[in-house]
């Protein structure tokens, strides 16, 4: 940054010196015809031109270099921080918003930093030029420079006015993008219901809104841009007219006039840019504040100061009087005084109506959220005392909504351990009932999946997520509705494999298909955040009417 500013200073001085030298050359060399003056001044101009050229390159390179580095560093910092923020933070933030922090806001800051060295140069230019012209002729200088502050003012106004309009236009354009995307993605629906004309009419409206905003932006531009050219012309007029009369009166040389004209021109860009700088600076500060807001959010779930290692064990899990709510304001907690012991190697099914808290129980165990009351222990240690990373590697979870990365199938399965051998990957896939269809993919395990790759069905995605959890070989495995999207005619294949996976491993299964529930040693019926019945599937069918009710809905639909 320092060298950037320094190069900028040298460049500025050279730039301001050139017209002076031209003036001297013209005055002494041509008008007065002093011996050797013309040659010397010309050589002088060439030398200074070389210095100026060298510095302008350096200034550019250094300024942009620094600005981009700052942007890059900040982005990495933000990324690392976001990665470690707790679930509750991510529940409340929208990806789109965070992305605009990472893209637009960082650019805003970068754009401002780029301006810093050039601003120093510009300020120096303004001061030097003002001094030079005042020395040449004070009255003319005042006349010529008088209109220029307006230039600065107008540039500032323009920048302030155009920015919100440009943002609105951007917003409307984003609307076009959303519209097109959803229509093309949902083209089967559009065709199926004959809704082509409806969609076209909607696009017409959207396009009209874009037109409206864009024309308005044009009007703002038309209001300012010509004015920005006009203001310096007033300065030039002053030089030509008043200066001309001064020449006629013998108080000024023709070369002075030329010099003045060059100097007035030289001020145009610095004044415009410094004018924009104010509003650009304001935007950059706002952007920086938004980023700061993220960076000061402390991760709520971190290692304790004296966190311990998870002791060896087979996954003995105890929920002791656990209470939990997603927000303190909610009138009712999601889980209330829940106690549940799962012995090492046992498989427990959590059953209950939608929204009763099954998923919440599953999320508390890997400490994605902190309990409000009571405690959870794994192999005898409170999970709050265990090193977070160890806890989470010991507990494998297949989430309700499957998320896969835009990468190969193999990389997705080997997510927990990228070094895993092909055999291990295939073995995990086989256990998840995924090996067969993966082998039939265009590139087998090397097939790229995700947005830009091959698109898989919901059931196939779930099976890959299952394989991912299996490969991690966790002490405790949590399956949250992990086979819900699997084609019913295929589910039994997975069920057999699951038995193998669950053998001797503590497992929590959340399910509503009776056949899947039957995999568990014990069923826990959850209702409104409380355990209302426990027992085997058969026992509960016999003893609990609520259990029969919950299952009846699922069964009624499947039969």
């Amino acid at each position: 940054m320092f060298f950037g500013v320094l190069a900028g200073f040298v460049w500025t001085i050279a730039k301001v010196a050139l017209p002076l030298m031209a003036r001297q050359g013209i005055h002494r060399g041509i008008e007065l015809d002093e011996p050797n003056a013309l040659r010397n001044w010309t050589i002088g101009i060439v030398v200074v031109a070389l210095i100026s050229g060298l510095c302008t390159g350096m200034r550019r390179y250094l300024a942009f270099g620094v600005a981009y580095r700052v942007e890059t560093d900040l982005r990495l910092k933000m990324f690392a921080h976001l990665q470690r923020l707790h679930f509750a933070f991510h529940d409340q933030s929208q990806t789109g918003q965070l992305m605009s922090r990472a893209a637009t806001d960082l650019q805003q800051i970068q754009g401002f930093i780029v301006m810093i060295p050039i601003t120093f140069s510009n300020l120096l230019t303004i001061v030097l030029v003002a001094i030079v012209v005042m020395v040449i002729n004070l009255k003319l200088a005042l006349l010529a420079l008088a209109p220029l502050p307006f230039l600065n003012y107008m540039a500032n106004r323009f920048s302030k006015r155009i920015h919100p309009v440009a943002m609105e236009l951007q917003q409307e354009l984003a609307g076009v993008s959303t519209s097109v995307e959803e229509t093309v993605t949902g083209i089967r629906v559009v065709k199926g219901f004959g809704a082509e004309r409806v969609q076209s009419a909607r696009m017409k409206e959207t396009a009209a809104r874009v037109f409206d905003r864009a024309v308005y932006a044009g009007r703002v531009r038309a209001g300012f841009m010509p004015l920005l050219d006009f203001i310096p012309a007033l300065g030039i007029l002053a030089v030509v007219w008043y200066g001309g009369h001064e020449v006629l009166n013998g108080r000024l040389s023709v070369a002075d006039i030329a010099g003045f004209l060059l100097y007035v021109n030289m001020l145009v860009f610095p004044l415009r840019l410094t004018g924009q700088l104010v509003s650009q600076g304001q935007r950059a500060v706002a952007a920086a504040q938004r980023i700061e807001e993220i960076l000061v959010t402390e991760p709520a779930i971190v290692n304790k100061a004296n966190a311990v290692s998870l002791p060896p064990g087979n996954g003995d899990v105890v929920f002791d009087n656990v209470s939990f709510g997603y927000s303190r304001e909610a009138e009712r907690a999601v889980l209330e005084n829940l106690s549940l012991t799962i012995h090492a190697g046992e498989a427990v099914a959590l059953v209950g109506p939608t929204g009763c808290g099954k998923t919440t129980v599953a999320r508390l165990l890997p400490r994605f959220y902190e309990v409000d009351g009571g405690s959870i222990t794994v192999d005898g240690v409170d999970i709050r005392d265990v090193k977070l990373n160890e806890l989470r590697t010991a507990i494998g979870i297949v989430f309700e909504d499957t998320f896969l990365f835009g990468d190969t199938v193999a990389a997705n399965i080997a997510f927990a351990d990228p070094e895993a051998t092909q055999e291990r990957i295939e073995a995990a896939a086989a256990l998840a009932g995924a090996h067969e269809f993966i082998s039939e993919l265009p590139n087998g395990y090397s097939t790229e999946i995700g947005e830009r790759g091959f698109s898989l069905s919901g059931g196939q995605r779930q099976r890959i997520a299952l394989a991912r959890a299996i490969l991690a070989d966790p002490r405790v495995l949590i399956l949250d509705d992990a086979t819900s999207s699997v084609d019913p005619t295929k589910e039994h294949e997975i069920r057999d494999a699951l038995k193998t996976v669950m053998k001797g491993r503590t497992t929590i299964v959340i399910a509503h298909r009776p056949a899947t529930i039957a995999l568990a040693d014990r069923v826990v019926l959850l209702d409104e955040g409380r355990i209302i019945a426990e027992g085997t599937h058969v026992e509960l069918l016999r003893t609990s009417s609520r259990y029969r009710e919950v299952l009846a809905q699922a069964e009624g639909a499947a039969a």
Binding site: Y68, S177, K191, V210, N389, P488
Partner: protein, 594 residues
């Protein structure tokens, strides 16, 4: 700043294409003929006014100062003032006009391309990537928009300024002008070189930015998985790598511009040295006047800056050209399914028949259906069953003319669907896809998709008819609940309910349904089941059944396998026959019992 545009080698316009492109673009501007003429006139006047300014100054110096003539000086000042005001007014008019014309063009383009996309049949969408189609309507049109909003005027003014300046210099003193321009070839070569390298550098930058942002976004969406597997650190390393690559790409692009800009500046300053040094000696030998030197010094500023501007704008222009070319490419694509010239309306009722139907997704490729014959009588419900990939969905799509058969035909009431008008097709047929899909807007908007003219009451009545009204009325904003805001909160079952409500509102004679394969949450699954039953009452229905219960309730069951119908009859008949259907039935009921 420099332009951030890049054009892929393959997208670059070929030689002959540019003229063609311009002609087509001009044709699209025909409705705005008057404005275009006005715009060109304003442009010419603006050019005159711009040139007049420096001429006035030169007149003032030569006639006023050199001849000690105060009146001439005053005239020059007045002339300059007039030209400045004229430029002010004219450039304002010019910006407004170019903007309005350009934006009208873009609005028409958006509408036309989208309309065209809406007219394309499914066959077209099979061969296209969603992302590419979206890019046509977004980044391609946006790059034209940028040209209209910023580039076009700058391009025209820079170009004119360059021409005018060179002309003026040549007019004042050809010899000195040629000397000044001596470094122009060097600048031009550097500019072309810069334009090429920066184009390439920017393609890389754009790609790397995309890479970084998509990694960022993916890591946000998948943050829960990353934390669950404790992969934060590893993932950070991966991101840091992309992040660094982006920085490297930027650094390279900056380096290119840091090498180029000094060349332009240097050329300008050398020219200044030439004017002073060599021009000065000309003055000594009385070849030129002092005023000429002054005018040259002033003009020099307008000589090299435009070259630099143009070389940057050239990238913008090029990518706009490539974009326009791709957009016209979309407009030139014909839909595989077309409405005949003399298309007739379908009758109100009639049998839906497949006659010797043969189809493959590509003419050369494998046949997905061969010689399928089938009759569905009015009010009859036909269930299609069979293994995945048998051709059930394909058959359903042909029966509703999403595709045209390769051979054979589909008829309704004796009329070949290929002879039917699109309007009557839309009226008779409704196709309900497997998964409920919601568009942004309210639930009302979403249901109304099927019949835009329906009033709110009609929508509610249709929803009530299939028993789903209550479900949505109970939400916070009732039927006015925004789908987007609650986006993911809508369960698959609820989306399905909206989809069925659409079909109820459309109320067409024939329903083609693809049943969902995945299980829904138990609560809504029952509702979907009830809604489906009510929806099918009194309709001719073709349903792709994945559930035993659906097949059981149909009037006829057709078992599709390997591109043909292998069995057809009532459920009871087929179970008795112990064929393919009986086997399928066995596996189904076994599963429901377990």
């Amino acid at each position: 700043m420099w332009s951030s545009h890049g054009v892929d080698e393959e997208d670059r316009l070929k030689k002959g294409e540019t003229g063609n492109l311009l002609r087509r673009a001009l044709r699209m501007l025909r409705p705005y003929r008057g404005q275009v003429v006005l715009c060109v006139t304003v442009l010419l006047l603006w050019t005159l006014a711009t040139v007049a300014g420096p001429f006035a100054i030169r007149y003032g110096v030569d006639q006023g100062l050199a001849n000690h003539n105060g009146a001439a000086l005053n005239r020059a000042a007045v002339g300059f003032a007039i030209s400045a005001v004229a430029v002010l007014i004219l450039s304002r008019a010019q910006i407004l006009l170019v903007n309005r014309i350009g934006e009208s063009f873009l609005r028409d383009m958006r509408e036309r391309v989208f309309d065209h996309l809406m007219h394309m049949s499914l066959g077209f969408y099979d061969s296209q990537q969603t992302g590419k189609l979206v890019a046509r309507m977004t980044s391609d049109i946006d790059s034209l928009q940028e040209l209209v909003q910023q580039g076009l005027i700058a391009f025209v003014t820079s170009g004119l300024l360059l021409i005018v300046t060179i002309t003026a210099l040549m007019f004042i003193s050809p010899v000195l002008a040629l000397l000044c321009l001596a470094s122009l070839p060097l600048v031009l070569i550097a500019s072309v070189q810069f334009q090429r390298s920066s184009n390439r550098a920017y393609l890389v930058v754009r790609e790397r930015i995309g890479q970084t942002l998509s990694t960022f976004q993916e890591s946000l969406s998948g943050v829960r998985v990353i934390q669950a597997f404790g992969r934060e650190a590893a993932n950070e390393t991966r991101f840091a790598h992309h992040n660094q690559e982006q920085l490297d790409a930027y650094a390279y692009a900056v380096k290119i511009s840091a090498l180029y800009f000094p060349v332009v500046e240097l050329a300008g300053n050398f020219a200044l040295a030439i004017v002073v040094g060599i021009g000065g000696s000309f003055v000594h030998s009385n070849a030129i006047t002092l005023g000429t030197i002054i005018a040259f010094v002033l003009y020099l500023q307008n000589l090299f800056d435009p070259v630099q501007q143009l070389s940057q704008l050239f990238n913008m222009l090029q990518s706009a050209g490539a974009a326009l070319n791709k957009l016209f490419g979309v407009l030139d694509t014909q839909s595989p399914v077309q409405e005949r010239q003399a298309a007739v309306d379908l009758p109100d009722h009639g049998n839906l028949e497949a006659v010797d139907l043969t189809f493959g997704y590509s003419e050369a490729g494998p046949k997905v259906l061969s010689h399928v014959n089938l009759v569905v009588k009015p009010g009859e419900r036909l269930a299609l069953v069979g293994p995945t990939g048998a051709g059930k969905s394909t058959l359903a799509k042909l029966l509703s003319r999403m595709y045209d058969p390769l051979d054979g035909s589909v008829r309704y009431g004796g009329v070949d669907l290929r002879d039917a008008s699109f309007a009557s097709m839309r009226e008779r047929f409704t196709v309900v896809p497997q998964e409920g899909y919601l568009f942004q807007g309210t639930i009302l908007d979403n249901v109304r998709l099927a019949r835009p003219s329906a009033t709110d009451d009609e929508v509610a009545a249709a929803m009530a008819r299939i028993g789903v009204l209550e479900h949505f009325i109970g939400m916070e904003d009732g039927l006015h609940t925004e789908v987007r805001e609650r986006g993911s909160r809508f369960s698959a079952g609820e989306r399905q309910l909206v989809s069925l409500a659409r079909a109820a509102l459309a109320d067409s004679e024939i329903l083609v349904l693809d049943e969902a394969t995945s299980s829904l949450d138990p609560g809504t699954e029952v509702e979907v089941e009830v809604a489906l039953t009510k929806l099918m009452e009194g309709k001719t229905v073709i349903v792709i059944a994945h559930r035993l219960s659906t097949a059981e309730r149909a009037d006829m069951v057709a078992v599709v396998d390997a591109g043909g119908i292998v069995e057809m009859g009532t459920h009871a008949d087929l179970v008795r026959r112990t064929g393919a259907y009986a086997a399928l039935f066995g596996s189904w009921s076994g599963q429901a019992a377990s």
